[in-house]
């Protein structure tokens, strides 16, 4: 297909490089530098999709981020991406795209029947129609709406693209590279400031690329090129195109998304597709420009109705005509530039200007070019279904309420201009309470809350001369404040045409007896009558009107619709726009891919993975790993076809019978040093610590100040002023912060230092009746007899040339030891023990067996220390010192804590001795009782007791102390189970604790 709408001698695209691409299965050609939109228009394709609610044909409306319609599904390298804006995506060889929101095809759309059923689809129709009957919602309404509405299809495949995050600091960030941005960045950079200049489009220069102006005796475009090239060469400047600053957060944190490879057919392998920049700037210049505002008229969504500025950009940047018989409909001077540009390229435009008798330099120029202009005339409606074929036009009265005789004018596009809306999103996001400027009928930034300055048309400055003057000054002043340099650049001279005032007119009245749809929000299909209906139904706050009608809530966030919506509300309500107020602007300014936000933090990179020094050994010995906080721990070591259940039973039984070895490196370890260490421990733990001898360990429990259990572990006195504390794996980081808080903030007088040594030591637990025999083999020159090395003893030894710390402590309830060596000797220790342990039938055991062993011994762990239990609840009240004060003690006399029927830990065995009780089940007395059935307690931990070969659970049970022997029901609605159970002691195995002391 030939590019019928492409001109030969105008535009900034690369004519030497032809690019082929596909749209809806059909192949087209464009040039390098085209957007999908410009290339399609060049080929005469104006129908690109169907509208959201009524499925009306839609084409192109804008030429950039303001585009409400032209969203496509993009296919590239086997990946698919929804809702890509055709006006932003640059074409590359092999690009494939499809219309969204139409079925079965863009030309024949079944949903278009909504267009004729529109009385069923008024504002708020989702709320009204689909609320009743309730049972219909999930099965009928919701699936239907989801299929009929919405845009593209999200890929459910893993995103193979690479995304990155980058952190940057600068003196000044400039958002937008139009004249205001270039001038500010240039002035600041020349004055020595570290500057980042960001441009959302591929080309720098903004309006200078399309405006007929002169700066310092050069065309605006050439001046922009010169400045950009100079900036690019400066060491203190970073210049980024295809980079959208989309969010302005606290403390001058700007977030920018940079598209690096979206425009390339075959990106290099490790080049990220997009990069998210977190930029902390000392000062921010917002030069985000302005967006043209439409005028609302009948059927103004017909393909071929475009913004006048977009028509000009297609012409001047891409050499593309949006039509060959253009009709310009305007209320201001800027659309005359579009008309003149058409004329210069041999096309005869027709101007309809709503103003009565405007006079200005550019209007005169148009007249001199013999362009036909009709003042006090408006477009009443567009005619044509899939493309504009003609327009109904009319004279309009001075008060803009009365139309004259309606006439038909042939045209193939309508270029509309309703003046300009400053882009205040970033400023508003930063906390700037914007104000309404009556001269330009728009909101503009007011007092900044953060360090930001808005310049150029984003501030409502619409002359180039004033823009350059204020922007050069802003760049200079801000950089001077930061760098203390005083090098000022002279502002160049400017030649531009003077414009006269715009008309305060944005909505063409309906002719009598006509019911044209007049769209305000093009993407969400919100019409004038929808807003009128919302107001009739009593919605007043603009935030409510927005939510009820969905005005401005689409992916374009109402860039072309917000002000017209406000204008309409204010004229119906007979208020002025500032009293109606605008809705809140929130980041992101333009849609950002989830991949960019996530960056490299995917899969295994989503959090750090900590592995013990023995990890490789575990892997080689068929360990199946489990996440334990950030650690990877062996859950069990699989032999043959064993299941988790079988393997853990085998491993636990071997501990009870012979000896097992478990990697306990992950336990939190804190080194405590200083003369006041004992006093500190005495305040931190509930039991007494002042008399712990050197070379002894002690079990301790910590509380929070509210009396709840916080953590437990053992602490060993290594020497006079040196202690080694262990914490649970999960709480290690919190406990260190907790200790630091008390030492630094509460008791700074204590001379104690704490430091984490978790990663410095590798740990192995040896547990089982044969562990002492094995220990003898490992430390041949040590006396490890029960007399010399009793329970809770501590020794240091030589493990085949490696220094080792040996603690006689036990989590499994068996005779047990924990050996620590420096981390880099961990694997050596492990292999040595395995080798020496062979004759004692040593087997490694994982966390599953570890749990089994501690549960049947009634030892508490995380599930019991869940932040809702006190010492009494887990039968650790014996460790509460009566003689001394400690953290949380004062809270323990609360009535609930000392209630007679206070909850307490118990053991549970199913009556049938077969059915395992799911953790989290609730305990009730009578399973048939009337609801709500009073809950007596919950199951905290469950295991299969290897000692008794039946299921066993720990539970926290109301009045648990007096419940031993009772029969209850464990109920798990989640697992759909009701299990009769008997309450037993929580110390199911070795209740007197003889084994650990044996």
């Amino acid at each position: 297909m030939s590019q019928d709408y492409r001109l030969d001698n105008i535009g900034l695209i690369n004519r030497d490089k032809k690019v082929s691409f596909k749209f809806n299965g059909k192949r087209y050609y464009g040039y390098e530098g085209d957007t999908l939109a410009s290339a399609l228009i060049a080929n005469g394709v104006h129908l690109i999709g169907r509208s959201f609610k009524y499925h009306r044909p839609r084409g192109f409306f804008g030429s950039g981020v303001d585009e409400p319609y032209a969203k496509v599904q993009l296919y590239k390298n086997g990946e698919s991406e929804p809702n890509v804006s055709a006006t932003e995506i640059e074409i590359f060889e092999g690009l494939e795209s499809e219309s969204v929101n139409c079925w079965p095809s863009v030309n024949f759309d079944v949903g278009a029947i909504n267009n004729f059923l529109n009385k069923f689809l008024p504002a708020g129709f989702y709320y009204k129609t689909f609320m009743w009957p309730k049972s219909f919602w999930y099965k009928i309404y919701e699936p239907f709406i989801r299929k009929a509405a919405g845009f593209g299809v999200v890929s459910v495949k893993h995103d193979k693209d690479r995304y990155e995050h980058k952190y940057e600091y600068c003196d000044l960030i400039v958002a937008g590279s139009g004249p205001a941005g270039l001038a500010s960045a240039y002035a600041a950079a020349k004055n020595g400031a570290k500057v980042i200049l960001a441009e959302d489009k591929p080309r720098f220069g903004g309006s200078l690329l399309t405006d007929e102006v002169n700066i310092g005796n050069q065309s605006g475009k050439d001046w922009a090129n010169k400045i950009i090239n100079e900036l690019k060469g400066m060491q203190n400047v970073t210049v980024k195109n295809r980079a959208q600053v989309f969010g302005y957060y606290d403390h001058n944190m700007l977030v920018m998304s940079e598209r690096l490879t979206d425009h390339l057919a075959k990106p290099k392998k490790y080049t990220p597709r997009q990069r998210l920049w977190y930029i902390r700037a000392k000062e921010v210049v917002i030069s985000s420009g302005s967006i043209e505002r439409p005028i609302v008229f009948g059927n103004n969504d017909t393909p071929g109705v475009v913004l006048a500025s977009a028509a000009k950009e297609y012409l001047k940047v891409y050499g593309v005509l949006v039509g060959k018989k253009p009709l310009i409909f305007t209320n201001n001077d800027s659309a005359y530039e579009t008309a003149i540009e058409f004329k210069k390229n041999g096309i005869n435009p027709l101007i309809f200007d709503s103003r009565e008798k405007p006079s200005s330099e550019i209007i005169n120029e148009a007249k001199n070019l013999n362009i036909e202009i009709k003042f006090s005339h408006v477009v009443v409606s567009a005619k044509g279904y899939k493309k504009v074929k003609s327009a109904e036009v009319s004279k309009i009265s001075k008060d803009k309420n009365t139309l004259g005789k309606i006439e038909n004018v042939d045209c193939d596009c309508i270029c509309v201009s309703g003046f300009w809306t400053p882009t205040i999103h970033l400023s508003s996001q930063s906390g700037n309470r914007t104000k309404f400027d009556k001269n330009i009928d728009s909101f503009v930034p007011n007092q900044p809350k953060q360090k930001e300055t808005t310049v150029g048309s984003a501030k409502g400055t619409f002359t180039l001369e004033e823009t350059l003057k204020t922007s050069f000054e802003t760049g200079y002043q801000l950089s001077k404040k930061i760098t203390n340099n005083d090098k000022k650049i002279l502002t160049p001279s400017v030649v531009e045409k003077k414009f006269t005032k715009h008309d305060k007119f944005w909505c063409v009245p309906l002719p009598k007896g006509k019911k044209y749809k007049r769209f305000i929000d093009f993407q969400n299909d919100v019409t004038v009558s929808d807003i009128e209906l919302a107001l009739r139904e009593g919605y007043r706050s603009i935030e409510h009107v927005k939510r009820y009608t969905t005005l401005g809530m689409a992916t374009d966030q109402g860039k072309t619709s917000n002000l017209n919506g406000l204008q309409l509300v204010s004229s119906i309500e007979d208020k002025i726009v500032p009293d109606v107020g605008h809705t809140t602007f929130r980041p992101p300014y333009t849609p950002v891919t989830i991949g960019t936000i996530v960056g490299r933090e995917i899969g295994k990179h989503s959090k750090p993975t900590r592995k013990s020094p023995m990890h490789t050994w575990h892997k080689e010995n068929n360990a199946v790993f489990v996440d334990a906080g950030v650690w990877l721990r062996p859950r069990y070591y699989k032999k043959g076809n064993e299941t988790l259940f079988q393997a853990s039973k085998r491993e636990a039984a071997n501990v009870r019978k012979n000896v097992g070895i478990c990697d306990v490196t992950t336990l939190g370890k804190i080194d405590i040093k200083g003369p006041d260490s004992a006093e500190f421990l005495n305040r931190v733990y509930t039991n007494a610590w002042l008399k712990l001898p050197i070379g002894k360990a002690r079990y301790g429990v910590m509380l929070r100040e509210d009396g709840m259990l916080m953590d437990d572990g053992t602490t060993t006195r290594i020497s006079e002023n040196h202690y080694h504390m262990t914490t649970t794996t999960a709480q290690a980081a919190n406990i260190l912060s907790h200790l630091e808080y008390y030492l630094q903030v509460v008791w700074p007088e204590l001379n104690v230092n704490v430091v984490s040594t978790t990663e410095q030591w590798a740990g192995a637990a040896l547990a089982g009746p044969r562990s002492r025999d094995l220990l003898k083999k490992i430390f041949t020159d040590l006396d490890v007899s029960n007399d010399n090395f009793p329970f809770m003893g501590y020794l240091e030894g030589n493990l085949s040339g490696v220094h080792a710390r040996i603690f006689r402590i036990s989590f499994s309830g068996e005779l047990a030891y924990e050996i620590n060596v420096e981390s880099n000797n961990g694997n050596f220790m492990w292999e040595k023990i395995i080798q020496l342990g062979k004759e004692f039938e040593i087997q490694p055991y994982g966390t599953e067996a570890l749990s089994t062993l501690r549960i049947e011994m009634g030892h508490v762990a995380g599930p019991e220390l869940d932040g809702r239990t006190i010492s009494y609840d887990v039968s650790l009240e014996g460790m509460l010192s009566k003689k001394k004060d400690f953290i949380g003690k004062r809270s323990l006399n609360k009535p609930a804590f000392i209630a007679k029927d206070r909850q307490k830990i118990v053991g549970l065995v199913p009556i049938d001795k077969k059915t395992s009780i799911p953790e989290g089940s609730h305990l009730v007395k009578d399973v048939n009782a009337k609801l709500p059935n009073p809950k007596l307690g919950h199951i905290s931990s469950s295991c299969w007791s290897v000692e008794f070969n039946n299921p066993f659970s720990l539970a926290i049970l109301k009045d648990g102390k007096n419940m031993i022997g009772q029969k209850l029901f464990a109920v798990s609605p989640l697992k759909n189970k009701v299990i009769p159970v008997e309450v037993v002691s929580s110390h199911y195995v070795d209740p007197k604790g003889e084994r650990v002391r044996s």
């Binding site: 952190y167 957060y249 606290d250 403390h251 001058n252 944190m253 977190y278 902390r280 906390g431 809350k449 305040r683 100040e705 509210d706 980081a733 912060s737 630091e740 808080y741 630094q744 903030v745 509460v746 008791w747 700074p748 001394k884 004060d885 004062r890 809270s891």
Partner: protein, 88 residues
Amino acid sequence: MLFIKCPYCGDRSQNEFAYGGDATVKRPEINKEVSDKDWDNFVYLRKSPRGKHLEFWHHVSGCRQWFKIQRDTSTHEIFKTFKVTEEI
């Protein structure tokens, strides 16, 4: 994301820090009698002012020092940061 000046390390991003609560709350002295009311105030009762708030922060991924920040809770403006031992 806030930009916080650690009194020991200088300006750092918020993600290096952990919030530590109201810094005007003083823990009752250890080993001293304290009334139920005073203890209750210390453990549970906190003001939630709109405006200036003195609070503890912990430079967890840095020097691991606790320090104080005077911050506006509605604007997030940080007026000053101090060492624990310093007063406003």
